[in-house]
């Protein structure tokens, strides 16, 4: 599903964030991405979401070589990738419903379908009662779940999460991870960057560990 072949990423600052990285994530797999701060985890996820492009080497997602994807196709590509961020990236002047509906509105879904799918996604993350609330009125864990609902609402085959539990206490973190597991069980490829070692160790999934932009560990 996701394949890196000798990928290098150098920022303008000449700093090499990733160097010679190769690995593969199979379709329907769930994996953790770990490593010290500055190891290159966020950079790696940004390459998959095409927020950044590799300086060298191939990134192949769903048999599509991202180097060859023209700029105008990026929006359509991103609709097939669900993104979850540590700081949620919610729109604070819109209700929970409207935040979750955004990807569907962008994709031009009709009104009835939008209502149905937004409610299904909110139900999944346990926030059906909060659809009229503004994000400000929600707790950190709830906001993160709104972000997850938005990421999965148009049923993307790939779900990427960058430190999704970074600001949450252990119990809330476990709930969030449990949600990701559920999506994985229905066939979604899930890739989560985290440095919460305890949490990762509680769950028996593959980890890919980065160290200074290089692959340090890759095992189940």
């Amino acid at each position: 599903m996701i394949r890196f072949e000798q990928v290098y990423k150098r920022y303008e600052s000449q700093h090499e964030a990733l160097s010679g990285l190769s690995f593969e994530l199979l379709s329907g797999e769930m994996a953790f991405l770990t490593g010290h701060s500055g190891a290159g985890k966020s950079t790696l996820l940004k390459l998959i979401a095409l927020i950044e492009r590799s300086s060298h080497g191939q990134v192949i997602v769903n048999n599509q070589n991202l180097n060859r994807l023209p700029k105008w196709k990026i929006p359509y590509y991103r609709r097939k990738i669900g993104l979850v961020f540590q700081d949620h990236n919610l729109l604070h002047d819109r209700t929970v419903f409207d935040n979750v509906a955004l990807p569907l509105i962008i994709a031009g879904e009709n009104h009835r379908e939008i209502g149905r799918r937004v409610r299904a996604a909110l139900d999944k993350v346990g926030l059906l009662g909060k659809e009229r609330s503004l994000p400000i009125a929600l707790s950190g864990g709830e906001q993160q779940r709104v972000g997850i609902a938005r990421a999965v609402v148009n049923r993307p085959p790939v779900l990427l999460a960058d430190e999704p539990t970074g600001n949450l206490d252990p119990e809330l973190s476990r709930e969030i991870m449990y949600l990701f597991e559920q999506f994985n069980q229905v066939g979604v490829t899930v890739f989560i960057a985290s440095h919460d070692q305890d949490l990762i160790n509680q769950m028996s999934y593959r980890h890919i560990t980065l160290q200074h932009g290089k692959l340090a560990e890759n095992h189940s």
């Binding site: 927020i51 105008w72 359509y76 991103r78 990236n89 729109l91 031009g108 009709n110």
Partner: protein, 308 residues
Amino acid sequence: MKLFNIHNYLLRHVQVMLSSLGELWRQPVATTMTLLVIGIALLLPAGLYIILKNVEQVSGEWQQANRISLFLQNEMSDRRGEQLAEQLLTWPDITEASFQSAQQSLNEFREISGLQSLLDTLPNNPLPAVIIIEPEENQPQEATEALLERLAALPEVDLAQLDMQWLQRLRSINETGQRGISILAILLSLSVLLVIGNTIRLAILNRQTEIRVIKLVGGTNAFVRRPFLYTGMWYGLLGGVLAWVTLLISLLIISGPIDDLAALYDSQFKLQWFAGQMLFGLPLCGLLLGVMGAWLAVSRHLSAIEPS
């Protein structure tokens, strides 16, 4: 299925159109100020255009009043002058030719000027005999001028003068005015473009986070651009309507006195409002300028806002 998508698409456009109008409505003070600036910028060239068109109409009416005065050589007899007038009447492009002797000219002048005693002290009559000619009506200006030249070339004629040459001057002033208005219109259109562009630029900066998030979840540039284009459209359209209403009110205020003045001069002149053309033209110009200004601002700033 295809039809269904088009339906969704149009519905979405209408929604964005209305919500960008709602956005303007929610900031009444800022919106009103912007609309006033746009309205005035559109109003000025339109108002000047209407004034010029009306002046043109007035001068058109007076074209019929063209007259040529032939001042005859001093030593000529009245008899010869009368003969000349009769002869000129046979010219096809002359409808009227009346002779006025030097003595008659003097009498007339005496009456009008009230310089009786002064004129009496003169040893002889300083005024020449005159033939007043009315050229064929409805002939082009050039034909009248050609006639004037032929008349001036006659040996009996000392000087041929087209009365109301000031009318021509008025016309050329009018023409200059029209060019001036064109330039003014272009400059003011440019300023409308800049005002709307700048307003949209601020709106874009205010919504950077939103734009980033939209791009992150797969929004195309067209999707991001759309609400801003509609905002620009509303500014231009409403500014145009405002200009039209202001123009009508101004015309209403000045039309009474102007029509009275025209009646006083026994003129056929009626103030032309061009209300229909302006109702169509002003909002349309505004709309086009608005969309263009928004487009420029959006293309300049949109690509700079990328998710990171």
